[in-house]
């Protein structure tokens, strides 16, 4: 089968592996974030990461090393801003997001030499992922999923109702900080797969598609994971065959999955 020869290429295999790992992580976190009405946090953190990536390029440091701590700090800042100032969740995200982009644009304008590199982070380039990046993506994604599995009961309780969870003995504030950190890690990893502009799609769309079908929380996590991994595998393949950008192709496949699952639900109701 000549058409499947591309599966033998190392860069395709690396893209499959890293993409599937990051997609699994994003999908699981996405269900939690969507149900907590924090869908836009991925968008906010990816925009902050844009500023941090620009800072890394500006200082000559490996950009993702700067983006990771900055994204984690930004996720805490969003939570504190939301809690202490009694802002709505999306308003806190909008503030942090706008500042992140502004910093990135100012640094890009000052440096004037790394716009090409910054552009690659904006739209991702999973087909150019290195073996080291694959290993980091797989290891970190696997570790984060283990942490989520360990905290599953508390996460489910707090996602359903924070106050009831608190009265059941769940340390909700601590849990929220852990989830914020995990989301920041997931966003930074996903930047390499789909780019700053499309990270939130990888978090939100598989989750929303899964919620059209799921009858239980566990069911939603499984469906989201299946949809996200499927979209990455098909997206990477299609991107190679058609010479379209991988990140955007992955997002469009996710969108078609969403349309199908929504249509199925709609027709079932009708």
């Amino acid at each position: 089968m000549e058409i499947l020869d591309f599966l033998n290429y190392g860069f395709i295999q690396r893209a499959y592996l890293a993409g599937a790992a990051v997609a699994s992580l994003s999908a699981v976190l996405g269900v939690i974030l969507v149900l907590r009405q924090l869908s836009l946090i991925g968008d906010g953190l990816s925009h902050v990461s844009f500023g941090a990536l620009a800072l890394g390029l500006f200082l000559g440091v490996f950009p993702l090393y700067v983006a990771l701590p900055v994204a984690i700090l930004a996720s805490y800042f969003i939570m504190v801003l939301k809690e202490k100032t009694k802002l709505y969740g999306d308003a806190a995200i909008a503030i942090v997001s706008a500042v992140g982009v502004a910093v990135g644009v100012i640094l890009a304008s000052l440096a004037q030499g790394f716009n090409v590199n910054l552009f690659s982070y904006l739209f991702g380039n999973i087909l150019a992922i290195s073996l080291t990046e694959v290993l980091i993506s797989v290891f970190v994604s696997f570790s984060v999923i283990i942490i989520i599995a360990y905290l599953y009961h508390d996460i489910l309780a707090a996602t359903f109702d924070e106050e009831l969870a608190q009265v059941s003995g769940v340390k909700v504030k601590r849990l929220n900080f852990i989830l914020a950190s995990l989301t920041a890690i997931s966003v930074v990893l996903a930047i390499k797969v789909v780019g700053v502009m499309l990270v939130s799609a990888l978090l939100v769309i598989p989750a929303v598609s899964a919620l059209q079908l799921a009858k239980s929380f566990k069911n939603a996590l499984i469906w989201a994971l299946i949809f996200a991994v499927f979209s990455v595998l098909v997206g990477v393949s299609l991107s190679f065959i058609t010479d379209l950008p991988a990140g955007a192709t992955i997002v469009m496949i996710n969108f078609f999955i969403f349309l199908t699952s929504w249509l199925r639900k709609y027709l079932k109701k009708a």
Partner: protein, 242 residues
């Protein structure tokens, strides 16, 4: 045994006083109806007891420990007023929701969740999505969730609001059974005076401060309360006359 002790509790939202020098105790086996007019501070009092609101002056002890040091939350079951306002898109089955009340998961705890459903006669709903249930069924599911750890104290905030008369009767009968057969103390905020008089043993009447706290029998025989409450006393006392 004294399980709740409140001494001189005072609380204000910004400059508006909500509770003023509230003091009372709850013992094992008590079934207390917490009544009072709108804005009397009933829900605030319960939220302060549960540590959901902060910033009050005075002392709260739960099971002999100051609230700040209390950590045995599995001894308390809580059914809030707004359970019917949960996210309608949340994909949870009945057994998942009941299991949320458990401190830790595990096969023994799964059994506890099944037992709680069985106790309230809703085992058949076990695998149904929560959103597919009626208001009365959902209320029972949340009661099962509050009972799943076999608590020693159950706190309910207007539990009968969403219930039709038939569901209300079966709901209160379940509460009576929990209180009488299992010795669980109950504090129940209610505007349902007739049901409160029929099922609860004591009345805590709150209007920013404690106006009355004793058994229904004493409330119903008190001329002072009769002069103060008139119609309310008549409505609440038909089960306790004589």
């Amino acid at each position: 045994m004294e399980i709740v002790s409140v001494k001189n509790l005072t609380f204000a939202y910004q400059a508006n006083p909500v509770l003023e020098r509230v003091s009372f105790t709850v013992s094992s086996g008590d079934f207390i109806a917490l009544a009072g007019p709108n804005g009397a501070g009933k829900t605030t009092l319960v939220r302060l007891l549960l540590g959901l609101n902060q910033g009050a002056q005075g002392e709260i002890s739960l099971f002999g420990k100051p609230l700040a040091k209390f950590s045995a939350w599995s001894k308390i079951g809580y059914l809030p007023q707004r359970v019917n306002k949960f996210n309608p898109l949340f994909p949870a089955t009945v057994i998942e929701v009941v299991g949320l009340g458990l401190k830790k998961r595990g096969s023994k705890n799964k059994e506890a969740a099944n037992k709680a459903l069985d106790f309230l006669g809703i085992t058949s709903l076990r695998d149904r999505p929560l959103t597919s249930l009626s208001g009365g069924q959902q209320q029972k599911v949340f009661l099962a969730r509050a009972l799943v750890n076999k608590p020693e104290l159950l706190i309910l905030d207007e539990p009968s609001t969403a219930l039709d008369p038939e569901s209300r009767h079966s709901f209160f009968s379940a509460l009576k059974k929990i209180n009488q057969e299992h010795g669980v103390a109950i504090i129940m905020i209610t505007h349902d005076s007739a049901s409160a008089g029929s099922y609860a043993k004591k009345l805590l009447y709150l209007d920013k401060t404690v106006i009355f706290y004793d058994s229904f029998k004493i409330f119903c025989q008190s001329e002072e309360m009769s002069a103060r409450f008139g119609g309310f006393q008549h409505l609440i006392c038909h089960q306790h006359q004589g």
